[in-house]
Structure formats: C-alpha cells, structure tokens
C-alpha cells in the first residue's frame, strides 16, 4: 500500500502541471501519424534533463500512457494506425467513423483504454515480484511457439476466407525477411539501399492501411462529385459508459490478454491488440458483425493495448531489463538522473518509483477525460469532403513515413506497399493478416535460430523445443487454435452451400 503514501507528490503544482502537459502533449503526439509512443517519449527526454528525477518521470509516464491511447484517434478517423498497437482498432473503429459514428468509436476507445490501462498499472503496483518471474520464464523456445500461435490467428483475422488470410500472412512473412538478417548479418532481398534495415513497420502500417483508402477515394472522386455527406451523429458520454459496461466480455478479454501478453519482453506490445481482437471475436455471440463497425472490436483492441502499458514496465523496473523499445527509452530517462531500476529504485528512491507509477494511474484518468472531451469535435473529421480528405490523408502519410527516421526510403516503401495493397484488397485480401506476418516473422525466426543454437550446444533441438510445461502448453494452444479455425471454416462452408442450394 506504499503507493498511496506517495500520491500527494503527484498533486504538487509543478508535478500536476507536468502530468497535464504530458497527457495533452502525448494525446497530440499519439494522434500524429508516424509518431509512435517510443519516439514521443524519446522526443521528451531532453526536457527531463532540467527536471528532478520524479518530475521527469511523471512527464515521460504520462506521455507514454496517452500516446498509446492517442494512436486510436488517427486509427479511427483516418485509418492510419500510429503504432502496431493500434492496428486492431482500425478494423472496426474506422468503419464506425465512416458510418458517422466516429464520436461513439472514440468515446468507447478512450473509456476502454482507461479501464485496461488502470488495470495494467494496478497489476504493476501489486504483483510486480510475481510478474517478474513470469516475464523471465519466456525463453527462445517459448517465444517461438508464441509467434507461431500468432500465425494461427492470421487465418481468422479480418478476412473473407481463411485461405486468403493465410496467403496475405505469407506475403507479410516474406516482406519480413527483407534486409540484413539480424543474427547472422546475411543480406536478403536488398535491391535498394532503403531496404537495408528491412521494412520499417511504422512506414509499412501507414502504407498498407492509409494508401489503399486514399486511392479508393481518388478513384471515386469525379463520379460522385464528393456529395457523399456523412451525418456525424452526436453520442452522449453516458451512453458510451453504459455500452462499455454492457460489453463486459470484450472488455475482460481485452484487458486480460493485454496484461498477460504485455509482460512478455520483446513481443507483447505489438501483438496485444490483434490477439485480443481475435480472441474476443472467437468468443463473441455476434462474430459476423466484427469488421463491420462493431463496438466490441474497438473495446477489445483498445483495452488490450493500454492494459499492456503497466505490465510492459515490469521487467524494466524489477530486473533493469527493458522489455520494449519504449521501456528502453524510459531506462535512459532514469539513468540520466543516476537511478538504476531494480532493487535500488524501490529501496533508495521509493519517491521516484511510486510517483512515476502513480502518475501513470492518474494519467490514465486524465487521458480519458481529455479524450472524451475531444471525441465529439474530432469526429467531425468525417464530414470533410472526400477529395479534401484524400489529400490530407496522403500528406499525413508521407509526413508520417518520413518522420520515422528522416528518410525518403521509408516513404518509397510506404508508397509501394500501399499501391500493392490497393490491388490486393480488390481481390479480397486484407491488410491486418499481412501486418501480423510482418511483425511475427522476425520474432519467430530470430528465436528459432537462437533457440536452435542453444539447443545444439546442450540438449538438442527436439527436446529443447518440444519438452517442458510451458512449451507443451503453448503447443496445445496452437493446436487448439488451428482446430478451431478449421472447424469454423467447415461449418461456414456447409452453411453457405445450403444457402446457395436454396437460392
């Protein structure tokens, strides 16, 4: 209960001002395409040079929580996911915005974010020592199976058919091999210097999601002379509250999946949203509504990606190992003030540690309040005429891709992938499985090679990858997931043939 003692520190004038500034700034940075939470936090590090340790961390903690949630704004309104965490949010969120329900989608996403986020931070407060052991339990073999589990999700994720889903997943896996291979340093498919570092995931996200819709808008342009005026429905916050708590299943699945997956170093943050989306789709009674602007999709995805924030800091705060790129940047913020995460942090600088954690808790609430406030206004974006909208999204896409690392190469990558995706979409392929392949490919590969090297030196590949409780558990889940997909596909097929026969 030590954290309650330090709550006062968050509410001193300067600290609270920093918390407000970090939250609002974070929302804006998060909503800007191309600025991932990691970059937003890195941008703020120089400001903390002048501040005391606790105050600097308040700024960084608030910015971290609100950039993750802010990413939902561009994902929902513009279909540009700001970071891998927001991919799943675009699937239903953007469809809702197109129907004029942008306000509802944004309100639900901020409320779900706050619920998930607060749960995640509470886990960080109460269960840190237990969770640290869990984070360490995942070795190369387990991460490999986890990535394979992610691959099995590909088939059922937002696609007309399992086969098309798997095919676009394969394209993603292939794209992931481009560049210098990270372990051996071998060159693969580098036919332009811009590809040396592989496909940048943020640039790819912008290209795959935003560019096809820009092209579609341009293609429509003249025929409809932009007269397609969407009526933006107002939506009361109270109604959003009620809706959120009537969708407890999606909220619970999202929050739990996010917190569990968020813990695993190196994997969690990127796939938490997608896995939660897929799971809540599987358990939902209204499966067929997912992808058509269904609120459960938004709730699951957003509660998951904010629930991951707290647990993702467990390895950093307890073991001094940054488990995600953002955690690595936060480590820098601590080191600059001479504070070492680990027992030193909690024993000798409890004020810093708990003020930081508390600020993330309060930050979630503030983020939610500001988010709800802007939701109604922001949703009007949908009223912008299509021709203007297309130009704005295109400009933001180019800006976003360029700003990732100040390189035109990423802009070319974004444009090529976007144009390719435009044609793939016409054949019923969708971007989400492709992106999942792009994210999971390197994780599966690197851990297989690394695990294989350890195995060859010790017990041999078969027993390294196939024995042990956690390995067997993960393999069982993989098999169950595949069986479920096959069963659903068969059932679906029988269903449709019967319908066709009747027709």
């Amino acid at each position: 209960m030590e954290f309650i003692y330090y709550f006062g520190d968050v509410f001193t004038p300067l600290s609270f001002l920093l918390l407000l500034g970090g939250t609002i700034g974070g929302l804006i940075l998060g909503a800007t395409p191309g600025l991932s939470p990691t970059m937003a936090v890195a941008l703020l590090i120089p400001f903390t040079f002048q501040l005391e340790a606790a105050q600097g961390l308040i700024l960084l903690g608030a910015a971290y929580t609100s950039t993750v949630a802010g990413g939902a704004v561009s994902a929902i309104l513009l279909k540009i996911p700001g970071a891998p965490a927001n991919i799943a949010t675009t699937l239903d969120g953007h469809t809702m915005a197109k129907k004029g329900e942008g306000a509802r989608a944004l309100q639900l996403s901020f409320l779900a974010s706050a619920v998930g986020g607060i749960f995640g931070v509470l886990l960080l407060i109460f269960l840190t020592p237990v969770l640290a052991q869990w984070a360490l339990a995942f070795g190369p073999s387990h991460l490999f199976w986890l990535a394979i589990l992610g691959v099995t999700v590909i088939g059922t994720l937002d696609s007309a058919s399992v086969v098309k889903g798997l095919l676009s997943g394969c394209i993603g896996l292939w794209l992931a091999t481009i560049g210098f291979d990270d372990i051996m340093g071998a060159q693969r498919f580098i036919f332009h210097p811009a590809l040396g570092g592989g496909i940048n995931i943020i640039a790819a996200l912008i290209g795959l999601f935003a560019i096809p819709q820009v092209l579609t808008m341009f293609a429509k342009g003249r025929q409809t002379d932009g007269a397609e005026v969407i009526e933006v429905q107002r939506h009361s916050i109270l109604a959003a509250f009620r809706e959120l708590f009537s969708r407890t299943r999606a909220l619970t699945i999202g929050t739990l999946t996010g917190s569990i997956i968020g813990l695993i170093p190196g994997v969690g943050g990127q796939i938490a949203g997608l896995v939660a989306y897929d799971q809540s789709k599987k358990f939902s009674s209204e499966k067929e509504k997912f992808g058509t602007g269904h609120s459960e999709g938004v709730i699951a995805a957003e509660s998951a990606n904010n629930a991951m924030v707290g647990p993702s800091l467990v390895p950093l705060l307890t073991l001094s190992i940054p488990g995600s790129p953002t955690a690595a940047v936060l480590l820098g913020g601590l080191l600059i003030h001479g504070i070492f995460p680990g027992s030193d942090l909690f024993d000798n600088h409890p004020d810093v540690a708990w003020t930081f954690i508390n600020s993330m808790l309060i930050g979630q609430v503030l983020m939610c309040i500001f988010g709800l406030y802007v939701a109604g206004l922001a949703a009007r974006v949908a009223q912008v005429p299509q021709s203007v909208m297309a130009a704005i999204v295109l400009a933001l896409s180019v800006f976003g891709a360029y700003s990732v690392q100040g390189s035109m190469g990423d802009v070319y990558v974004m444009a090529c992938l976007g144009i390719g995706m435009f044609f793939l979409e016409r054949f019923g392929f969708s971007a989400a499985p492709l992106v999942l392949g792009l994210i999971l490919g390197p994780i599966a590969e690197a851990n297989f090679i690394q695990g294989g090297m350890i195995a060859d030196a010790t017990v041999g590949k078969a027993s390294y990858f196939m024995t042990g409780g956690l390995n067997l558990l993960l393999i069982a889940v993989v098999l169950a997931s595949i069986a479920y997909s096959v069963w659903m596909e068969l059932r679906h097929r029988r269903y449709t043939t019967k319908e066709e026969a009747q027709a």
Partner: protein, 319 residues
C-alpha cells in the same frame, strides 16, 4: 543612399564571411546514431552532445537522428554513401563493430570512409554469469569449457560486435570452444538470457552488467580490458586471470564525419568536441548513468582505429 550601400556592402561581407571556417557552424548540426532510441549508444550520444549549443562549445545544438538496423550496418552504410560531407552531418561510431563488419564484408564502408573527430567513451566487455551460477572465476569457466567443448553457452549482443570479439579472444587465449549465442535486441536481450538461465554465461557491456550486479542478478567474473574499471575495482581483468585478452573488444564510442568534409571544418571540430565532452555537466550525467568516459583526440583515435584494423584482421581471418 550611402548608408544603404554601406549596409548592403556589410551584408555582402557577412555573407561571404559565412564561407570562412571561423563562422562554422552557422546552423544546427545533425548526428546520426546507428542504433535505436534508448540503446546505450543513443543514450550516451544524447548526453555528450547536450552542451553543444553553449558558447564555449560549438554554439549550435546537435540533433540526434536514429537510423537503426542490422547491428549498425544500415546507419553506417547511409553515412558512408549518402551523408553530405558539409560538416553538418556527424555520426557516432562504435569500434570494433564497424571495423569488424567492414572486414567481414557486405557493407559499403571501411575505416577509409570516415574521418574521426573525437572519442567520448570506452565500455569494456565483461563476462557475466547468473547470481546462482557455480562459476566464480574465469578459471572455473575455462575449466568447464575445456571439459565440455562446444557445450558452454554464452550470450552476446550479436555477431562481430565487441561481445563476439571478446568471446573469440577468450577462446583463442584459453584454447577452448564456447557456443556463442548472438541475441536479437542488443545487450539487454543478451543480459536477460543470462539472468533467466537460458544460457550459462554471457558477455555484456560493463555499464549494463554493473547495473545488473547492483540489482543482485548477476556475478561479473572478468573484464576484457587492460586495466580494472573504476566502477568495478573488485573485478580482475582477463589478463590477471591468465587469459591473454587485450582491449580489442572494448566498445569505443565517438564522433566522426564522412570522408571529404573540408579540412578546416574537421580541424575546428577536432579542437572543440573533446572540450565539449570534458564539460563537467556531461561527465556528471555520464557517471550517474554508469557509463565510463574516455576522451581521446582525433590523432589518438586515428591510431586506435589503425590498431583495431590490424588485430581484427588477424582475429577474424580464420572465421
């Protein structure tokens, strides 16, 4: 009218004056770091450049740009082939990384592609084992490695980086063959593998290992450097433990510019930058973060690069 002409003349003079090196730099500089934000190189680069805007330093701020990927190859390739040699584009170097990579091939740079300016830090590689490991000295490690050739798993940040060089040197000195496991995700991932017991030992940065030892997670058995470190006075060097391992694996970090940068600019930078590193604010922050500083001038760095090139050529020849 006269005053207008005089003013114009003055303005013109100041314009032509801009080309004179004394006026350099007249706009902010950019420094490329070939590792991601939050890594040790990025963290240190941000600290050592934070006083660049001071009047007694360059008088202009230095902005850090990250171009991570493939163990640094992406950033350095870009720097060697695409960066403008105008004095406004700097980069951080990591030795022995980029030299070893250029020897192994597949990249577009070598020591001849760059002009060193100054060195700011030296982070030696250390040998770490988990806190509950049965190994208590390098002697134990070597004895085990001799009895079980190829069975001793040792993690490190990647192939052909300082950690790998240190592993190769230990193998050469002791006549052993350890199973070196490169991890993806840099030193942090390699350290996690040691703490979690996925591998039996590891080679890591002194700064990171120091923190992990403070947290009670690892034991540090030896330092791959010529002298003991001020951070770890109790840990003997490899030499003291009878292993002929010199400082070839020490991760030197510093600033360089592309070949072709005007000599006046290089001269100005080489004179100012070491001063900038020596600023007390910088050294305080570096010490607080557990990052060992080691300031070297341009001439010293040129010599160091040449030495490394030679040792690494010999060491990597057999691979």
């Amino acid at each position: 009218m006269k005053r207008v002409i005089a003013g114009a003349a003055l303005a013109l003079m100041s314009l032509t004056g801009a080309a004179v090196p004394e006026e350099y730099p007249e706009r902010p500089l950019m420094m490329m770091v070939s590792y991601g934000a939050g890594g040790a190189t990025d963290f240190q680069a941000r600290i050592v450049t934070m006083t660049a805007g001071n009047e007694d330093a360059l008088g202009m701020p230095i902005a850090i740009i990250n171009k991570p990927g493939a163990g640094g190859r992406v950033g350095w390739n870009w720097f060697a082939t695409q960066a403008d040699p105008d004095g406004y584009t700097l980069a951080a170097y990591n030795v022995p990384h980029f030299i070893a990579q250029s020897i192994k091939g597949g990249v577009e740079y070598s020591t001849d592609s760059f002009e060193p300016i100054a060195n700011w830090g030296a982070d030696p590689a250390v040998f770490v084992v988990g806190a509950d490991s049965e190994f208590n000295s390098m002697e134990d490690v070597v004895a085990y490695a001799k009895e079980n050739p190829g069975k001793l798993t040792v993690s490190g940040a990647g192939l052909f980086v300082g950690h790998h060089i240190a592993a190769l040197q230990i193998d050469k000195a002791a006549g052993t063959k350890m199973a070196y496991i490169p991890t993806k995700g840099g030193g942090a991932a390699a350290m996690k593998a040691v703490i979690a017991g996925e591998v039996m030992g590891g080679i890591n940065n002194l700064s990171d290992a120091f923190r992990a030892q403070e947290a009670g997670n690892v034991k540090i058995l030896g330092v791959a450097d010529l002298e003991r470190s001020a951070f770890l006075p109790g840990v003997p060097t490899m030499m003291e433990q009878g292993l002929e391992v010199d400082n070839s694996s020490v991760n030197f970090r510093g600033v360089m510019v592309p070949k072709g940068t005007p000599p006046e600019v290089i001269e100005k930078l080489a004179a100012t930058v070491p001063e900038m590193f020596a600023n007390s604010r910088v050294s305080k922050k570096m010490e607080a973060g557990g990052s060992p500083m080691h300031i070297m001038t341009r001439d010293e760095v040129i010599e160091m690069w040449a030495q490394r090139q030679q040792t690494l050529n010999e060491l990597l020849a057999g691979l």
